[in-house]
């Protein structure tokens, strides 16, 4: 197996140009999402979905509003003129413990030689279980197609030794592609640099199992300038399977109880009829 490949998305460098969204759509020949106006800053994409494998989030807040509830932490976190602008290019996280992969009943979702998580469209039967199993709300089923789709980490490009389309097109290197091991070192260095400059809100999101025990670490991790919720990322995501064992235990006890109730009832009924 080749070394694990992934993304380090440094949101402190993102300028919100959406080149990643366009490059992803073009390279992967994904259909359009339609023309809709959200009124949410420059974000008319909204969320990742079956046909949207990169999504640029725009957090545009006047500071009193931001201060009122989610307090921006520290100086230098994208704020000026009483406003703050945070941008983040979101993508499938290619988790070490991937909810979608563990939930897939057909084996359509596999882990590739690049340690990425890939959906085989010729196997997927559209049961929709991965959609509810993803703690990040990444994978989705397209209604008119019937199958589940998500970022492939440009599996076709990786096989030819190329960089994924989004990282290739990022003009500020906010999206960095490479070996996950190396990206981690780069991310730690960048975090130290930002903190030394007084950006107190800066933090890494999901770079390893220590940072994010629920997913065992993400192959596509982030440097954020505020709490994850601000970017619509869950603060403590967990692969649902980690809690499944407990549920199975209760199901086993309940099923045994059902059978014993039936057996006890049948024995009692027989006893009465014999008398």
């Amino acid at each position: 197996m080749a070394a694990a490949k992934g993304f380090f998305t440094d949101t402190s460098l993102c300028i919100g140009c959406k080149a990643c969204e366009v490059a992803c759509k073009q390279w992967n020949q994904l259909p359009a999402d339609g023309l809709h106006f959200s009124g949410n800053s420059y974000d008319n994409t909204g969320h990742l979905g079956a046909s949207t494998w990169r999504h640029v989030a725009f957090v545009e807040q006047t500071l009193p509003e931001a201060l009122g509830t989610v307090e921006p932490q520290g100086a230098g976190n994208g704020s000026s003129f009483g406003m703050r602008w945070l941008m983040e290019s979101d993508v499938c996280k290619h988790c070490q413990r991937a909810g979608c992969l563990e939930a897939c009943p057909t084996g359509a979702i596999v882990r590739t030689e690049f340690d990425s998580v890939y959906v085989q469209p010729d196997v997927c039967n559209g049961c929709g279980y991965c959609v509810v199993a993803c703690p990040f709300g990444v994978i989705d089923r397209r209604d008119d197609d019937g199958r589940a789709w998500k970022c492939t980490l440009c599996y076709d490009r990786l096989a030819d030794g190329l960089t994924p389309a989004c990282a290739k097109h990022c003009p500020t290197e906010s999206i960095q592609f490479g070996d996950v091991e190396e990206l981690r070192i780069r991310a730690e260095r960048r975090l130290d640099q930002l903190q030394a400059r007084g950006v107190e809100g800066a933090r890494l999101y999901g770079q390893d199992a220590r940072n994010q025990p629920g997913t065992g670490g993400l192959n596509a991790f982030f440097l954020l300038l505020d709490r994850p919720e601000v970017y619509n990322l869950p603060p403590d995501p967990v692969v649902p399977t980690a809690k499944g064992r407990e549920s199975w235990t209760f199901a086993g006890i309940a099923a045994a109880g059902m059978f014993l109730t039936a057996m006890a009832g049948a024995l009692l009924a027989r006893g009465r009829s014999l008398r």
Partner: protein, 377 residues
């Protein structure tokens, strides 16, 4: 959505540009459609902008990203909660039938025959309901392509398939004599064990997801579905006139189920004490009404069937109330879960209150899950 021409000056544009396209803009005579997403079928070029619809009241939005959902909401349709009802009933009937065969003796033969039919009918109807929900129904057999213990959907497919096979053998051969009859009776016994699992796994199926309400209720859901399955099986059997020992057995089985289901429902309401937003869909709105209807109808079914001498009319009334309660409960759980998936604050507040990975006694093994079992081709 609108299919009006996108170009406001129609006489300047060739007619093909006036139609909304799928956005790929690739002329097949000039370029190849071979990208990873090229096979994605588009029938609606302008899909509903569901992802842009906020689901949080305006005053609470600052805690979230414009009030937009963080999770994808379940794509399942009405056939899934209906299957939860039908599968639970069939499983509970199979278990009762197997117990009647093994422990009941000849007095319960009629009851056992009815359970046999009910179990098989439920398995068949359940399979149809599940296949109807698939995005690619023609590929339903892919469900048996792998055996994946981490996926309750995979385990459930195997349980349902094996239960269907066992119940078919039991239904066709169970009353025969000789070796074929022995095979049939083995089918009934196996179908009983599989039926108990069939009623219980559906709870795990919902619990083993990122949907905040279902994940929080991971202990209560399987118990609720098992109890509710027993109650429904008892109610359907009570709709047929029966007497003596089998009438008493059905009543005992159904009443036990109703009591268990009610207990599990009350427990489920308190499954997220640290983050009340998670269980809010059980209290407010249409989902809250449906949930309370399930609770009240099930309780009414338990009271109406009561103890002591029961008239046939009262028995049928109780059966009707119980079935309505079980169905309402399944739909309430389903739609309340959908609502909690749409609410980003249910996810955020639950995880901030320690209901994410923090509540695990031991974090999951960070190594990627490897499935060593062979893939059937």
């Amino acid at each position: 959505m609108t299919t009006a021409p996108l170009n406001p000056v129609p006489f300047l544009a060739p007619p093909e540009l006036e139609r909304p396209t799928d956005g790929r803009e690739v002329d097949p005579s000039l370029g190849l459609l071979q990208g990873e997403g090229a096979a994605q079928r588009v029938r609606t070029p302008e899909p509903h902008p569901g992802r842009l619809v906020p689901h949080v009241e305006a005053d609470a939005r600052a805690l979230t990203y414009y009030g937009l959902p963080v999770l994808q909401q379940p794509v399942w349709i009405w056939t899934i909660p209906t299957y939860l009802f039908v599968g639970g009933m069939a499983g509970a009937a199979s278990a009762l039938g197997a117990a009647s065969l093994v422990a009941g003796g000849p007095t319960l033969e009629r009851l056992e025959n009815r359970c046999r039919a009910l179990g098989l009918a439920g398995d068949l109807a359940g399979s149809v309901l599940l296949i109807a929900d698939l995005g690619r129904p023609e590929r339903f057999l892919n469900m048996l392509r792998v055996f994946r213990p981490t996926s309750p959907m995979s385990m459930g497919s195997w349980i349902l398939a094996l239960s269907g096979a066992a119940n078919t053998a039991g239904f066709l051969l169970g009353s025969r004599s000789g070796p074929l009859g022995a095979v049939g009776r083995m089918g009934i016994a196996a179908g009983g064990g599989l039926g108990a699992l069939l009623a219980g796994y559906t709870g795990v199926l919902l619990a083993n997801t990122a949907v905040p309400l279902w994940q929080a209720a991971r202990r209560e859901l399987p118990v609720l579905f098992v109890g509710s399955g027993m109650a429904s099986a008892g109610a359907v059997l009570e709709l047929f006139s029966d007497s003596g020992a089998s009438r008493k057995l059905t009543h005992w089985y159904g009443s036990a189920g109703k009591a268990v289901a009610l207990g599990a429902m009350l427990a489920m309401q308190r499954s997220a004490p640290g983050a009340p937003r998670i269980t809010e869909p059980l209290r407010t709105g249409a989902t809250g009404l449906l949930w309370r209807a399930g609770l009240v109808l099930t309780a009414a079914g338990l009271v109406a069937s009561g103890l002591g001498n029961r008239s046939r009319a009262r028995e049928r009334l109780a059966a009707g109330l119980t079935l309505a309660g079980a169905l309402a409960t399944r739909f309430a759980v389903f739609h309340a879960g959908k609502r909690s998936a749409r609410d980003p604050r249910a996810t955020f507040e639950g995880q901030r209150a320690g209901m994410g990975a923090a509540e695990l006694s031991r974090p999951p093994d960070p190594k990627p899950a490897v499935f060593k079992l062979p893939v059937m081709r």
